[in-house]
């Protein structure tokens, strides 16, 4: 079994990958997924994907998927540095641009996030 799991708020990622790998699905905000990943890193899990994967700005897309190692070791300072920088980067974008996002737009953002995830998956399964 591969040594990683996925945390996501994107149901498309969950539906696509839950049967193959561990997917922790939380119907929470983008920034909350970041915060959860940070707590996992603090606990010794290592970051496998860049938390700002994709060039879509944090206040544009509601969806976020992050890969972490299942195994815990001493805290990985590189993972920590990256997640902290990303959390800071999120803050400067301010309010969500589309709080009342129509479903078709959501579906598109889910698709893009899922596509980023597909690529991470290809690398993670190697």
């Amino acid at each position: 079994m591969a040594d990683f799991f996925i945390i996501t708020n994107n149901e498309m990622v969950r539906d696509k990958y839950a049967s193959q790998v561990t997917v922790e699905f939380h119907p929470v905000k983008y920034t909350e997924i970041m915060r959860m990943a940070r707590d996992y890193i603090h606990a010794g899990h290592k970051l496998l994907t860049h938390p700002l994967a994709g060039s879509i700005k944090p206040n544009e897309t509601p969806y976020k998927t992050i890969f972490l190692t299942k195994s815990k070791k001493t805290m990985d300072s590189e993972s920590l540095r990256i997640i902290e920088e990303c959390i800071i980067a999120c803050k400067k974008f301010g309010k969500e641009r589309f709080p009342n996002m129509p479903e078709n737009m959501r579906q598109d953002f889910r698709t893009i996030d899922c596509s980023l995830c597909d690529n991470a998956m290809a690398s993670a399964m190697q």
Partner: protein, 426 residues
Amino acid sequence: MKLELGYVNIHDIQFADQSKVEAGVLYVCKEDIKNLVLEDENIKSVELEIAKPGDSIRIMPVKDVIEPRCKVEGPGDIFPGVISKVDTVGSGKTNVLRGSAVVTTGKIVAFQEGIIDMSGEGAKYTPFSQTNNLVVVIEPVDGLHQHEHEKAVRFAGLKTAKFLGDLAKNVTPDETEVFETYGVKEGMEKMPNLPRVAYVQMLQSQGLMHDTYVYGVDAKRTLSTIMNPTEGMDGAILSGNCVSACDKNTTYHHLNNPVVKDLFAQHGKTLNFVGMILTNENVYLADKQRSSDWTAKLCRWLDLDGAVVSQEGFGNPDTDLIMNCKKIEEQGVKTVIITDEYAGQDGKSQSLADADPKADAVVTGGNANMVIHLPKMDKVIGYPEVANIIAGGHEGSLNADGSIDAELQVITGATNELGFNKLSAR
């Protein structure tokens, strides 16, 4: 490798009964383009529009911008591995329809940015307000999946550009320019006293709407590699990147890579332009590490003294950029990096999502969060009905009078990280 670019200056573009290039005017027969684009069964309809410098026209959402070129002499053809067969390009002669561009627009996902204003405040920030543009508005068949839709729009643009480029095959250029690089040993013998410099180009490679193709190969599935700079001038690198309009590299940017041009300008004078290293920007951290390791290794292997490193996109590529810079510097190779900034609307936030003291020579394309006011345009080409969403501000940032208040990041090419523009920040 030696390539001669022949510039055919285009100062006007018009619709006509027959497609041709004559006396600096690009005549386009709509039927020619429509027939070509509609060969793709995934495309339902196509509309063509013209947008010239100074017009009161807004184009949005812009997917790609492509300069028409054609191969006059030498192996291969424009856009190898995609529109033409795989063959090493970058030598012989190539004609360029300078001053013209094909702009594709299509509503691939609900959220879109990428604005080109042909006049007014916004025009100052995009280089494509200065080109004579043929805008291709593409409507896909119903229910087409986003991946196929993106591909259909991408191919439609490339095919159109290739078609227009070929019109200049027998036209005598207004001006020619020769670019030549040498093998490692030959270069050293020719320029024994000049510093050896390469250009490290980072390519966006993360997934749907975030991809770049090199000779048709998806860059995310590649290791860092070496390329002759002239290959890019024949379309070896193509954009499939539709996100982060201000700092994505369009195909036009790849064809006219300014770092390549400016290194060639010093080639043989103050430096020896050894070549180009292509590397990617993947989502997986181990991939980032591998690619940057590989890049640094190639820099060392080429015995470089210096390198210019350019970035593409927002956020996680900052990590690739810093990894590349740090590792290349650790090989004893001096670097200058080109990036852009997200310093917040007030300019007070931390600009990059990564940093390192080794990155002591930085060129910036400006702060993409800066707010600008885009006045109303008489005509909007593309998809005005979703203007409020694509306007790039917030819900409601499209004002009643048709003007838009938005951040610079919505403008195509505004903070380009190849250093295409004069915009900067301090």
